[in-house]
């Protein structure tokens, strides 16, 4: 299954991923439309400014998701094949146990309905909106083997010049 890998050193903090995420989760699917919508569309990806670093944080859709285990109403569920953790707003009671258990702080709050929001991996798209929007390719949507291959290639390209004689 494809994962979203984060190459933190490539993040410049432009927040295009945050904007794209919010727009994708709006009704109008356009930036201008999204701004005036009620409820206001919420982002599910976060770029934190920590010292001189810009670090994007995305839901990991954990193998043994703590948020799913904490959810008493079944609002959070995990697909056994794709491993994607989805949130059903109709069942959410806004108890925030998921926010308390998530080790990465990936749960946000929708003020109007007072319920949780989190990443759904953009089920209606081929490539998640955040990945598509990232100008520096800090976010990579790939299978694990593909990404490892990418990293190996990068490492070799740094090593090999040292061997040139």
């Amino acid at each position: 299954m494809k994962e979203i890998f984060v190459r933190i050193d490539r993040c410049v903090g432009c927040r295009s991923c945050e904007l794209a995420c919010a727009v994708e989760h709006s009704r109008s699917k356009t930036l201008f439309g999204a701004i005036s919508e009620v409820p206001r569309p919420k982002k599910r990806v976060y770029v934190e400014y920590i010292e001189h670093r810009k670090v994007p944080f995305l839901c990991r859709h954990c193998e043994d998701a703590p948020c799913v285990k904490a959810c008493r109403t079944g609002a959070l569920s995990q697909d056994p094949v794709t491993r994607i953790v989805t949130h059903n707003p109709d069942r959410c009671i806004g108890c925030w146990l998921c926010a308390m258990t998530c080790p990465y702080g990936m749960i946000n709050r929708e003020e109007e309905r007072r319920i949780a929001v989190k990443c759904d991996r953009c089920p209606e798209r081929e490539e998640p909106a955040c990945v598509n929007a990232c100008p520096t390719k800090a976010l990579v949507f790939a299978e694990e083997q593909e990404f490892s291959k990418l990293v190996r290639r990068e490492t070799l390209s740094k090593l090999l010049p040292g061997y040139a004689s």
């Binding site: 933190i8 944080f57 009671i93 080790p103 990465y104 702080g105 946000n108 007072r114």
Partner: protein
């Protein structure tokens, strides 16, 4: 606290040391009855924002104020339906002895459209309960065991009066109970994730020291 409605009482179960200080602090600030039960970690009302207990209460005795869910004692009949509705078992029951004022009926101030019957009175609808003159002048103090339904009120009165934290959060020696805003708490977790787990990864890749 910026807006009272936005703070939640977080539980960090991995920090709970099982000392019961929260139970004691709660009962000392709530007339001798604790709204917290410690079982591996403290359990008490989550002040859900779409609360099942509010939905089921047929007397509208549970309401939301300033982001906290409050059980209004004067309207509550202790029926216990909310106890079943709460997914966390956070609404609790305690048997107490209630004093009934002499001359008054057993069930107190709850306004009802039907008369409360005592156990000795006949059950058939046709027979009117017989009351003797002696009953009317009965001044002996009476006691009744009732099962009181109670739950955490987020120490809202304390917070509204003086900005004080809930007693449990204030007393917890290990920081297992804390008052935080959800958005801020999540942001802090992300920063902590970076500081503990990601910064070394980055510096190894770049060959720089933190």
């Amino acid at each position: 606290m910026q807006s009272m409605a936005s703070w939640k009482i977080f539980i960090n179960p991995e920090r709970c040391i099982g000392c019961h200080a929260c139970e004691m602090a709660c009962e000392q600030t709530h007339g001798g009855i604790s709204n917290i039960k410690v079982q591996c970690a403290p359990v008490f009302c989550r002040h859900c924002e779409v609360p099942p207990c509010v939905t089921v209460c047929y007397r509208n005795a549970i309401e939301m104020r300033n982001g906290k869910i409050l059980l209004i004692k004067d309207l509550c009949t202790n029926c216990g339906i909310c106890v079943f509705a709460c997914p966390f078992g956070a609404i609790m029951t305690t048997t107490i002895t209630r004093q009934i004022e002499p001359g008054k009926k057993a069930h107190s101030a709850v306004p009802c459209h039907f008369e409360a019957r005592s156990a000795e009175e006949p059950h058939t609808e046709h027979e009117k309960p017989k009351r003797s003159l002696a009953d009317a002048r009965d001044d002996t103090p009476r006691e009744r065991q009732i099962v009181l339904v109670h739950k955490c009120d987020g120490c809202l009165e304390r917070a509204e009066a003086s900005g004080a934290r809930p007693a449990c959060a204030a007393t917890c020696p290990s920081g297992a109970i804390e008052c935080k805003d959800i958005a801020q708490a999540s942001s802090l977790k992300r920063i902590r994730t970076y500081e503990v787990h990601l910064v070394t990864h980055l510096t190894h890749r770049e060959g720089t020291s933190p």
